[in-house]
């Protein structure tokens, strides 16, 4: 082979711009001699990623997905979601405390303890009244005295999930949004309910203005930043908070009861149809109606309708359930005996369930209906669990596919969650031990039982 001729100077450079001059890097080649592998292959490629655009980037690090270790070496991992997104839901029960304490509770039906999340350091709230799971967001509203704004808290489920599973439950809550309403230093503002309707939140706000002429209740549009009223009434001294719901026909309905100073109760049921509000007449025999719960039900024996529960008052409270269908209200349950109040109502499976109590006899019942037959005494919680005497804010909801009733167990007046144990829901029920708040001082009426 001839000797090369001496040459000086830089010859033509070898140039390889992978992704520009060629298709991209082709990965590692351990099979061929280092000099025989292709220009765009590697002799070694450890902890790299070869991208479709021809680049090679470094492999990332790792991050703990669980903070509690397993006892041994990991053996198997499986995702049981079958490709169904959960949007961060953790399917726990959430409820709010509405007495002198102002905490939010999260309970897992399978866990041994509940999680209390106090509003540490928050001066805006005393009582939580409205609890709503919006799918993407979890919202709850409270009341405000001598403040011109209502605190409405919105927290993403994922943030709650992470925080609720940490040991640091005291600092999880952050007032995310202050819901501003017109100034009135003399009134107490209450957030009665929050509903998402037509892409906007509707917030029911009540007030206690002790005789002034200020707005007594209102329903506001709220886009998460600014609020504007859509429905107002100047009757004063509201007794219950505006309750909002979307009915079976996709309309927004509002159940409101006021009682003017020195006067009798007055009831307002409003429907929002095609963007405007209109009054709905109460059925014959219902002189006043305080709405405490609204549920839509589409059972196998009846057409879809919306049911409003609460009580009428003709001198004493008497529980009733009204059916809202075809543009009119009719009475399907009650009026029950004096002192009875239907606290809440919800649909589960082929039945409609409703919680009612009698403050004079101590009875606390779960009623059931298929839409045709109404059995008020379907399950007697009082008979099984004892002296329930003052269900201030009872709730009934389906959480993790099981009916749950939130009521007081009478022993110190503390809140407890009860659930049926068999398909025949009139049989023995179980008490959720983790949600027996016997240790909580002062008794804790709860409301706003919701799953998220």
């Amino acid at each position: 082979m001839p000797k090369k001729q001496p040459e000086l100077g830089i010859k033509s450079p070898f140039r390889l711009r992978v992704g520009i001059d060629t298709d991209g890097w082709k990965g590692v080649n351990y099979e061929s001699d280092p000099g025989a592998i292709l220009d765009d292959e590697f002799q070694e490629a450890l902890n790299v990623r070869i991208l479709p655009n021809g680049k090679v980037v470094g492999r990332g690090g790792s991050s703990k997905a669980i903070t509690e270790a397993m006892d041994g070496c990991g053996a198997g991992m499986h995702d049981d979601g079958e490709g169904l997104p959960t949007k961060g839901y953790i399917f726990k029960g959430w409820l709010a405390e509405a007495s002198e304490h102002d905490d939010l509770y999260c309970f897992d039906p399978d866990a041994s303890t509940s999680l209390e999340m106090p509003f540490t350091g928050n001066t805006y709230t005393d009582q939580i009244f409205a609890v709503t799971a919006d799918g993407e967001r979890f919202l709850f509203g409270s009341w405000s005295q001598a403040l011109n704004a209502l605190p409405i808290f919105t927290v993403t489920p994922r943030a709650i999930a992470l925080l609720a599973n940490s040991d640091d439950s005291a600092s999880w809550i952050v007032p995310a949004t202050l819901f501003s309403i017109p100034a009135n230093a003399d009134v107490r503002r209450y957030c009665g309910s929050i509903v998402k309707y037509n892409g906007r939140y509707f917030v029911g706000v009540g007030s206690n203005n002790s005789g002034s002429s200020a707005t007594a209740y209102a329903v506001y549009h709220w886009d998460g930043v600014a609020a504007s009223p859509t429905l107002e009434d100047s009757r004063s001294n509201i007794a219950q908070l505006p309750l909002l719901a979307i009915d079976h026909a996709g309309e927004l309905i509002a159940g409101i009861r006021t009682h003017p100073d020195g006067g009798s109760h007055a009831t307002v049921i409003r429907r929002r149809n095609t963007g405007t509000w209109s009054n709905v007449s109460l059925p014959v025999g219902i002189t006043n109606f305080c709405c405490l719960g609204i549920a839509m039900f589409d059972g196998p024996l009846v057409q879809a309708a919306t049911y409003l529960c609460g009580y009428t008052n003709d001198g004493s409270d008497k529980g009733v359930i009204l059916k809202w269908a075809d543009g009119a209200l009719s009475t399907v349950v009650g009026p029950l005996s004096a002192g009875t109040v239907v606290k809440d109502i919800c649909a589960w499976g082929n039945y409609l369930f409703y919680l009612h109590s009698n403050t004079s006899t101590g009875a606390c019942m779960v009623g059931r209906s298929d839409g045709v037959t109404w059995t008020d005494s379907h399950k007697d919680l009082f008979a099984q669990f004892g002296a329930e005497s003052s269900v201030t804010y009872g709730s009934i909801a389906v959480i993790r596919r099981v009916l749950r009733v939130l009521a007081l167990d009478g022993v110190g007046g503390n809140g407890t969650i009860y659930s049926p144990t068999l398909l025949d829901t009139s049989g023995a029920w179980a008490e959720t031990a983790q949600m027996d708040f016997a240790v909580h001082p002062g008794g804790s009426p709860f409301r706003g039982l919701v799953e998220m």
Partner: protein, 554 residues
Amino acid sequence: MAWILTDDQGNVYRRDIGSLKRTKLTLPAGVYQRVPYCRPDFVTLNGATLIVGQFNVPLVHTVDRKLWKAGIEPGSTAPTIDPGSGTGITGSVQAKLTFAEIALDGRVIAESNPTDASFTISLVDQGVAYSELPTSHPNARVNYKRLYESRDGDAFLFVANVALADDTYSHNTPTNELSATSEVSTRRAVPPYMNKITKTNGRVWGNDGTKSIRYTEIDELESWAAVNEQFTKDREGVTCLKGLFNELFIGTRVSIQQLTGFGLSDFNVEFIRRGLGVISHHGAVSISNSLWFPSQEGYYRYAGGSVDFLMENLRTYFREAYEADETTYQDIVAVVDHRRHYVIVLVPGSEEQARVARYYAAAFLPTETALGGEGRAPYWSRDTSTRYERTIAALTDGDLLDRWYSADCGGYARLMDVNGTTDDGTAYDMEIGLKHYFMGSQGGDDGHARTFEDLEMFVKSESSAWTLEAFVGDDGASSALTADYGPKVVPASAGTMGGRAQVPKTRHSFPEIHRSGHGITPWITCTSPNGFELRGLEIYFSNDGDGNRGRTAA
């Protein structure tokens, strides 16, 4: 929805979506981890998850978020019936009962096979009274009995659910009110022991390592009738079982086969190839319309008729590695990342042998023509680990996004390939050895050497410093322990300077390299290579090399 995790001490855990904690689940009575240890396999069907292999019996994690023995054993005693009060039934009546777990919303989660039929009773406008019904069952999940009756010798149709604690039941349901679609099934046998399962066409398929392939009723995870059985064509033991588009892929040590058909009448097992086998069930993954599976010399792809070898550039490496550690390679686990079009294959670590985990990683987009690729070989690289990682999985976290997770002997499940700061401080050193570039003839004498005057590397690395070395000489130069040039540390080239945004530096010159040899191998290393990109290189050389390997030119 949750993750199901197991460890090698026989514990099972659930991790809720979004949670940072895990909950240890209680094993049912009589359940224990098999010896020797067997990697578990999982299938979720209609919300319940079957877990096989690791324990002495198959387990099921159901919507009640508890672990149970899979399947429900039938009762041994036929129900006792007598004429009862009421009216409405005329004719002969026989009864059977099953045991069941029924959710509170009415869904039957699992049901046993029926008992034998009761004695026949004859009724004349009467009711039926059941007595001495069983009130307990060894499987604690059972909460109901389900009663079935045959009227006048017809099929046994569902009558009622009776709570497990109740030992009597009476009814007078007329014959015409029994639903003809609720006939009792005798194909609900409990699942046998299996160490591999998969699902396709609404059924779950399983195998215990023998020639037998068992399968469920459609949409019934826990119903494994004894007659639901097929065998491998050559009666070899099954080493891999994976559901594909409309068929079941079956691997043995020496063959690959497929089962086609839609029911007992037309199920058929046939060969795809003989002389080519599968070494690991968990190492096989389905991508697009093909199945990638590990053989004794590397990965093959079965794509509905064609079989292609995917590891031409790693054939010897894989084969020798398998020969050196066959037990570990028969336990490799592969998962797919459909987002980034990557397959990653874990060679499990061993704490006992102080051997950390290793991986093969493949970018498969160029391979799969059904996904727009050109059918060429996948691009392989390898990963190293600092831990005894024992399993990996592609899981979601409340969304549809594929993420890789590993689980190690520290007991943690870890999200892999995290860019930026990781909360556990993990960093993996990247290493890229480019090929040995000859600038002249590699076969000549020293007169064919070149002098490398300048080396230009096109690298973008804004957050991590990196190091360049170069091996100069013939094609064996890069096997030297010490590089001929370098290491030269290149600082991260952040895109800001003096408060002004700058274009990141992507061209890095090494003009002082000035080494002579037949060729040159640039070698890059980087610790925590976040955002590192290798885009190319330029090599400037002159033909006046003096032929002395690695010597600085005069």
